[in-house]
C-alpha cells in the first residue's frame, strides 16, 4: 500500500518534475492472453503507470484492473472484474522491485535484464524474477517483457466447470516507454 502511495506521488506531475533520475510513464501498455482448450481470451490496457529510478536501479509498475478492455463479451469482462480479480477489493495489479543487471542509462543501447521484485495480483504477493528487454534511445526507456502469471499462485479461483475456458497460466505482455518529465 505504501508503495502505491509513493507511486501515485511520483507519477503525479507535481512531485516528479525535477528529479532527473526518475523516468516514468502513465500510459504503458499491457496485454494478457488466456489460451484454454475451449476459448482464447485476450484483453489489454494502456493505463500502466510506471517509474524507474535509474540511480537506484529500482522500478514500480501498476495497472488498474478495471482498465482492461477486450474480452469476448461484456459479460466476460464483468466476470473478470467481479469474480476472478475482485477489482473492487484489489483495484490494481503491481510489480515493484529492483533491476538486477547494471545498465548505463546515459547511453543509447539495448539490454536484456531481470527484474526482481514483488508481483501483487489479486492481493497476493509473489516474489518473481521476470526477464525483460530495455531499450534506451534519445533519453527514452522502452521496456518490453513477456511473462506468465499462474492463477494458483495468486489465489485466483476458477470454478472447475470453467476450467476448459480459462487457462491456469496467463501470458502477459508489457510494453512501456518511460521518459523524464
Amino acid at each position: 500500500m505504501r508503495f502505491l502511495i509513493i507511486l501515485l506521488l511520483i507519477t503525479s506531475p507535481v512531485v516528479a518534475q525535477n528529479n532527473e533520475n526518475v523516468f516514468f510513464t502513465r500510459s504503458g501498455e499491457i496485454f494478457f492472453k488466456s489460451d484454454a482448450p475451449l476459448e482464447l481470451i485476450t484483453a489489454s490496457s494502456s493505463e500502466v503507470r510506471g517509474v524507474i529510478d535509474i540511480k537506484k536501479n529500482t522500478f514500480a509498475f501498476s495497472v488498474p484492473v478495471k482498465s482492461f478492455e477486450g474480452f469476448n463479451s461484456p459479460l466476460q469482462k464483468e466476470h473478470f472484474n467481479e469474480n476472478y480479480m475482485e477489482s473492487d477489493k484489489f483495484p490494481s495489479a503491481t510489480f515493484n522491485g529492483k533491476i538486477i543487471e547494471d545498465i548505463d542509462y546515459s547511453q543509447d543501447g539495448s539490454y536484456t535484464v531481470r527484474a526482481k521484485g514483488i508481483l501483487s495480483v489479486h492481493g497476493v504477493d509473489q516474489e518473481r524474477i521476470i526477464k525483460g528487454d530495455i531499450n534506451i534511445k534519445n533519453g527514452v526507456i522502452h521496456i518490453t517483457s513477456n511473462f506468465i502469471v499462474l492463477l494458483e499462485e495468486h489465489n485466483i479461483k476458477v470454478p472447475k466447470i470453467v476450467f476448459q475456458k480459462i487457462s491456469p497460466e496467463i501470458q502477459v505482455e508489457i510494453n512501456a516507454q518511460l521518459a523524464r518529465k
Binding site: 529492483k98 538486477i100 543487471e101 547494471d102 531481470r114 526482481k116 524474477i129
Partner: protein, 956 residues
C-alpha cells in the same frame, strides 16, 4: 526429545530417457508420519554428524535415526534455514522467520540479538577469524554478532552489494564472500573493520544473482547463479572463468554446489542435480529425475567425511556415494545387458560388447547421445583391445580377431588361416605395437610392422607353455609376459624361457583368471576359488577371506592409479591397499546388489576410472580419487542414569544403573558397523555387539572407564575409540572420612564424659569442704563469746526487771541455738524456716539495742516456694550488727525484700569508731556456697550510704 526411527528407505533403479549414467541414490524421509516436512539445509558438524534444517525444526541424522530438536519457545515459524557450529562447538540455528537459536542439549533456545530484531529469513551463518558470527538474511543484509555480544549490520547503505544475501563463504582467514542479488560482496576483515568490494557483471561475473559460493581446496570459488549456471572465480587474479560448456547451461537456477575431485554436482531449483566434469571431458550429465521420488528442486547438498553426498530435495533426504561409483545401465530406454568385454579407448570413449554386437559410445558433450553398433548380432565378442594405430581389436569365440578402424570403418579379420594359434580369443593385451592374444589353444604374439602387416608367432604346449587354455596374457612393466592358465597355474615368459608356478610353488589353485601389477612391480593374480596372490619375485602371498576378501571367486583384477588392487567378484568390489594390505569394499551401500561379471571384463580409462562390464550394464569405479575416510568414527552420545540423561559423571552408591549411548558413524552402510566395548573396573575383555546402547545395572562403587570402538567385521585394529570415565561413590558409611569422623566424635564424647565426671566429683568435694568449713564457722559463731556475753548481760537486765520476759528470752535463745544446730547440715532451707530464725535472732538482739535496731521484712516475699542456704540471712544481719554502730542517733535499719528473683538484704551504714576485726569469712562463705550450688551469683552493692546483698532465690 523425539526420536524417529528410520522408517523410509528406498532404492530406485533407472528408467531413462536417453543415456543414464548415474550414481546410486538412497532416499530417506526424516519423519514418515509427517510427510509435509520440507528440507531446507544440510550441515555436518565437527564430529561428523549430519544436521538437517527443516520446516519442522532441526534434525540430527546418524545414519540410522533422525532425532528432532524442537525450539524451547513456541515459534510461529519453526522452519530452520541455516545451521552452523562455532569454534566453541555451539550449534547455531537460523530460522526463516529471522529468529536465531542455539542448541542446548535437547532443544534449541532462541537467542535474542542485542539491540536488533531480524524480520527476514536467515540464509546462512558463518564465523570469521575474530570469532564474530556473520548472519546473512534475505532482505536485511548481514548481521554481525561479535564475541562481546555486540551487533553490527552490513547493508547496502554501508557498502553491501544488496540486502538480499543468499550465501556466505569464507576462503581464507580474512575474506568473506557474500552472494547477493546484485553480485558478490567481498568483505575483507582488517582488525575488526570490514572493507567491502563489490564484484558484478562489470567485473566479469556472468550473472549478478549469486545464490551459491563454494571454495575449493586451493581457495578459489565456484559460484552458482540464478540464470547463468556456474562459473569459476580465481581468487588471486580476481578473474571469473566460465568454460564453453558451462556457457551452454540451461538447467535454471543453481541452489547448491558440491566440489569433488574433478567434477561438480550442481543442485538446481527445478532440474535436480547436474554433474559437471571440469577436468577432462567438460560435460554435463543431469542425473535422472525418476518416478516416485522428489528429485527436482534441490535445496542443499553436502559432502561428508566418507565422501558420501547428501542431498536435500524438498521432501526427501537423498544419500549417494557420489562420484566414486556410477552405473551405466541403459541407453535410450534399451538396457545394456550381458556385457562381455569393455574398453576405454585412448580418447576416453567407451567400447563394449554384448550379445548384440560391439557398441561404441562417445563420451564427449557434443556427441553425447551417439551410440554405434558395429557387427550387430554377428559375432560373439569376448575381448577388446586398442592397438598402437588406434584400431580396435575385438576377440571373438571361434572367429578370430576383428581389427576395426573406427575412422574408416575398415575391418580386418585375423583367423587361424593368418597364423594365430586359435580362433577363440579370451583376452587381448599388448605393449606398443606388439599384441598378445590369449586363446583356448595357446598364445599368439602379433607384431604390427605397419598398418596392414602383422608378424605372428605362437606358443602352446609344444613351445613350453604349461597349458593351452590361457585365460589372460599380461605384459608387465619389465616387458615380461605372464600367462594365466586353466589348471596349471601361472606361467612367466622371460627372455624366451617359460617358468611355471603352480601347486608345486604352493599355489592353492591352479586355475588362474587375471593378472595385474602394482606400482612396486609386484605381480598380483586371481584364482578361480582361492582368492588372490601377490608375487614379489620370491614368494607368493595369498589373500583370502581371513584377510578381508568377501569372495574367493574373483572375476577380474586391476591396479588403480593410487596403488590399490581393484578386485571384482559377485559381491561387489574389494579394494586392497598395496601399502597396508588392508581390504575395504564397495557393496550394497554403493548400490551393488549383485555383480555378475564376465572374466576380465574390465578396463581403465586415461583418467583412471575403472569400467567393469556386468550382466546388467557397466559400472564405473573412480579409481583415481583419493580415498576418503574409510572407517567408522566412534562417538559416545550420552551417559544415562536409570535411563535418564546424567548431568555429571560422579554418582552416589544408589545411582548404580548406568547406560551408555554410542554410535560408530558410518553413513555409507551403518548396518555394517560392529562395536566392541569394555568397562574398565568391571570387565576385563572386550564385548562385541551390534547395539548402540549398553546398560550396566547394580554397579558396585568404584572408578570406571567405559571404552568403545567401532569397525567393520572383526578387525578392530586401528579402530576409532572413545572413552568416558565415571565414578560410583561408596555409601557414606563406608567412606574413610566418615569412619575417621566417627572415631573422633566417639573419642571426644568419652573424653568429655570423663572430664565432666571429674569436674562433678571435684565440685561435690568442694561443697563438702565448704559445708564442713561453714559448719565449723557456725559452730564457732555459736560460741561467739561476744554474742553469748551480750546475751547474758541482756538476760541479767531482764531477769531483774521482768521475770517472764527473761524466761521468754532464754526460750528464744535456746530455740535459736537449736535451729542453728538443726539447719546447719542442710544444703538449703525454706524461707519460712530461715525467716523465723532471723526473727528469733532479731528478738534476741533487739533486747539489747531496743528500737535503735530495726528490721523490716517485706510481705511480698514468697516464703513457701523459695529456699536459701541455711543461716545466710542470719549471717548477713549478724554482720550488719557487727559492722555498724547502733545508737539512738544512729539507728540501724535492715530491710529484707524480694525483687526480680533475688532476696535482698539491705542496711544503712553507720561507721563504727573502733572497728571489730573481721575475717570477711561470713560473706565470702555465702558467695562460695551459691557458686557451688551452681546458681546465679550473689551480688553485693556497697556504697557509702548502704550495704546491699542480692541473694538469688532457689526454687525448693
Amino acid at each position: 526429545m523425539k526420536k524417529i526411527y528410520l522408517l523410509f528407505l528406498l532404492v530406485f533403479f533407472f528408467l531413462d530417457i536417453s543415456f543414464s549414467q548415474d550414481p546410486f541414490f538412497k532416499f530417506y524421509r526424516v519423519d514418515k508420519i509427517d510427510q509435509n516436512i520440507r528440507l531446507n539445509k544440510l550441515y555436518q558438524d565437527k564430529k561428523g554428524f549430519i544436521w538437517i534444517g527443516t520446516s519442522n525444526g532441526l534434525y540430527k541424522f546418524d545414519g540410522l535415526n533422525f532425532t528432532n530438536f524442537p525450539t524451547d519457545t513456541t515459534l510461529q515459524n519453526n522452519s530452520v534455514s541455516a545451521i552452523y557450529e562455532d569454534d566453541l562447538n555451539n550449534v547455531w540455528v537460523g530460522y526463516s522467520s529471522g529468529k536465531i537459536g542455539v542448541l542446548k542439549k535437547d532443544s534449541v533456545t532462541v537467542y535474542n540479538l542485542p539491540s536488533a530484531e531480524i524480520a527476514s529469513p536467515v540464509t546462512d551463518i558463518i564465523q570469521d577469524s575474530d570469532g564474530t558470527l556473520w548472519i546473512s538474511t534475505y532482505g536485511e543484509g548481514i548481521y554481525l554478532l561479535n564475541k562481546n555480544n555486540e551487533t553490527n549490520k552490513l547493508t547496502s547503505e554501508n557498502g553491501l552489494s544488496d540486502n538480499y544475501v543468499y550465501v556466505l563463504c569464507k576462503n581464507s582467514d580474512n575474506l568473506i564472500y557474500a552472494g547477493t542479488d546484485r553480485g558478490i560482496s567481498v568483505c575483507k576483515l582488517n582488525n575488526s573493520i570490514v572493507n567491502i568490494k563489490i564484484l558484478t557483471s562489470s567485473d566479469g561475473l556472468p550473472d549478478n544473482i549469486v545464490q551459491e559460493i563454494v571454495a575449493d581446496a586451493s581457495g578459489n570459488l565456484w559460484i552458482g547463479m540464478q540464470d547463468a549456471g556456474v562459473c569459476f572465480y580465481e581468487a588471486n587474479s580476481g578473474e571469473f572463468r566460465q568454460s564453453e560448456v558451462l556457457k551452454l547451461w540451461n538447467y535454471g537456477s543453481v541452489t547448491s554446489i558440491i566440489v569433488s575431485h574433478d567434477e561438480l554436482w550442481i543442485g538446481t531449483a527445478s532440474n535436480g542435480i547436474v554433474d559437471y566434469e571440469f577436468e577432462g571431458d567438460l560435460r554435463f550429465r543431469p542425473f535422472n529425475r525418476s518416478t516416485g521420488h522428489d528429485f527436482s528442486r534441490i535445496n542443499d547438498m553436502l559432502k561428508n567425511l566418507e565422501g558420501n553426498i547428501f542431498i536435500a530435495s524438498v521432501s526427501e533426504l537423498i544419500q549417494s556415494p557420489g562420484e566414486r561409483l556410477e552405473f551405466l545401465r541403459s541407453f535410450k530406454n534399451n538396457s545394456i545387458d550381458n556385457v562381455h568385454a569393455v574398453l576405454a579407448d585412448k580418447d576416453r570413449n567407451l567400447w563394449y560388447s554384448t550379445d548384440e554386437g560391439l557398441f561404441y559410445f562417445i563420451m564427449t558433450i557434443n556427441k553425447s547421445s551417439e551410440l554405434k553398433n558395429y557387427f550387430p548380432n554377428k559375432y560373439h565378442i569376448i575381448s577388446l583391445y586398442q592397438d598402437c594405430h588406434g584400431r580396435i581389436w575385438a576377440g571373438t569365440y571361434d572367429k578370430g580377431v576383428l581389427i576395426l578402424n573406427p575412422n574408416t570403418g575398415e575391418v580386418k579379420n585375423l583367423t587361424e588361416q593368418d597364423g594365430i594359434v586359435n580362433a577363440n580369443i579370451l583376452s587381448i593385451s599388448g605393449f606398443d605395437c606388439e599384441v598378445w592374444l590369449a586363446t583356448l589353444g595357446g598364445v599368439s604374439r602379433v607384431k604390427i610392422a605397419d598398418k596392414s602387416k602383422f608378424e605372428i608367432s605362437s606358443y602352446n604346449k609344444a613351445q613350453g607353455l604349461a597349458n593351452n587354455y590361457i585365460y589372460y596374457a599380461f605384459i608387465d612393466s619389465r616387458h615380461r609376459e605372464w600367462f594365466a592358465t586353466d589348471g596349471h597355474g601361472i606361467t612367466l615368459l622371460e627372455n624366451g624361457k617359460f617358468t611355471n608356478f603352480s601347486s608345486d610353488a604352493g599355489l592353492k589353485s591352479d586355475v588362474i583368471y587375471s593378472i595385474t601389477e602394482d606400482k612396486k612391480g609386484n605381480i598380483w593374480f586371481s584364482t578361480s576359488t582361492e582368492g588372490i596372490y601377490k608375487y614379489d619375485g620370491n614368494n607368493f602371498k595369498n589373500f583370502a577371506l581371513s584377510e578381508g576378501l568377501r569372495d574367493l571367486s574373483i572375476a577380474a583384477l586391476s591396479a588403480d592409479k593410487l596403488g590399490n588392487i581393484v578386485i571384482v567378484h559377485r559381491k561387489g568390489i574389494d579394494l586392497l591397499n598395496t601399502e597396508t594390505e588392508n581390504i575395504t569394499s564397495l557393496g550394497v551401500e554403493a548400490g551393488i546388489t549383485e555383480l555378475n561379471s564376465d572374466l576380465n571384463s574390465i578396463t581403465q580409462d586415461k583418467k583412471g576410472n575403472i569400467w567393469i562390464g556386468t550382466q546388467k550394464g557397466l559400472i564405473k569405479y573412480a579409481g583415481h580419487l583419493p580415498n576418503p575416510n574409510l572407517k567408522p568414527i566412534t562417538h559416545i552420545n550420552k551417559v544415562l542414569l536409570f535411563l535418564e540423561e546424567a548431568t555429571n559423571t560422579s554418582f552416589t552408591s544408589k545411582e548404580n544403573h548406568i547406560s551408555i549411548d554410542f554410535v560408530g558413524l558410518w553413513y555409507s552402510n551403518p548396518e555394517l558397523v560392529n562395536y566392541q566395548y569394555m568397562l574398565e573396573g568391571y570387565t576385563r575383555d572386550w564385548v562385541k555387539t551390534k547395539d548402540h546402547f549398553v546398560t550396566f545395572s547394580n554397579l558396585p562403587p568404584g572408578n570406571y572407564t567405559f571404552r568403545v570402538r567401532s569397525a567393520f567385521g572383526d578387525n578392530f585394529t586401528n579402530a576409532s575409540e572413545k572413552s568416558i570415565t565415571f565414578k560410583i561413590n561408596k555409601p557414606f558409611y563406608a567412606t574413610s572420612w566418615f569412619i575417621i569422623l566417627t572415631i573422633i566424635v566417639i573419642g571426644a564424647v568419652s573424653l568429655f564424659v570423663i572430664r565432666y565426671r571429674e569436674i562433678k566429683l571435684k565440685e561435690k568435694e568442694n561443697i563438702e569442704k565448704e559445708k564442713i568449713e561453714f559448719q565449723f564457722e557456725t559452730l564457732k559463731s555459736q560460741v561467739n563469746p561476744h554474742f553469748l556475753f551480750n546475751s547474758f548481760n541482756t538476760l541479767i537486765n531482764i531477769i531483774e526487771d521482768d521475770k517472764n520476759l527473761a524466761v521468754e528470752y532464754v526460750e528464744k535463745l535456746s530455740v535459736f541455738f537449736r535451729n542453728i544446730v538443726k539447719y546447719r547440715d542442710k544444703e538449703v532451707v525454706s524461707l519460712v524456716e530461715e525467716l523465723s530464725l532471723v526473727e528469733n535472732y532479731l528478738f534476741l538482739q533487739q533486747k539489747r539495742y531496743g528500737n535503735n535496731l530495726k528490721l523490716c521484712i517485706q510481705d511480698n516475699i514468697d516464703r513457701k516456694n523459695y529456699c536459701i542456704p541455711p543461716l545466710t540471712l542470719q549471717l548477713l544481719i549478724e554482720n550488719a550488727i557487727k559492722h555498724n554502730a547502733i545508737s539512738r542517733d544512729k539507728n540501724l535499719n535492715i530491710k529484707i525484700y524480694q525483687e526480680n528473683g533475688f532476696i535482698i538484704v539491705e542496711n544503712n551504714i553507720n561507721i563504727k569508731k573502733n572497728v571489730e576485726t573481721s575475717t570477711g569469712f561470713g560473706l565470702q562463705n555465702i558467695v562460695t556456697r551459691y557458686k557451688l550450688l551452681n546458681k546465679r551469683e550473689v551480688k553485693i552493692d556497697h556504697t557509702s550510704e548502704f550495704f546491699k546483698v542480692h541473694l538469688p532465690l532457689i526454687h525448693c
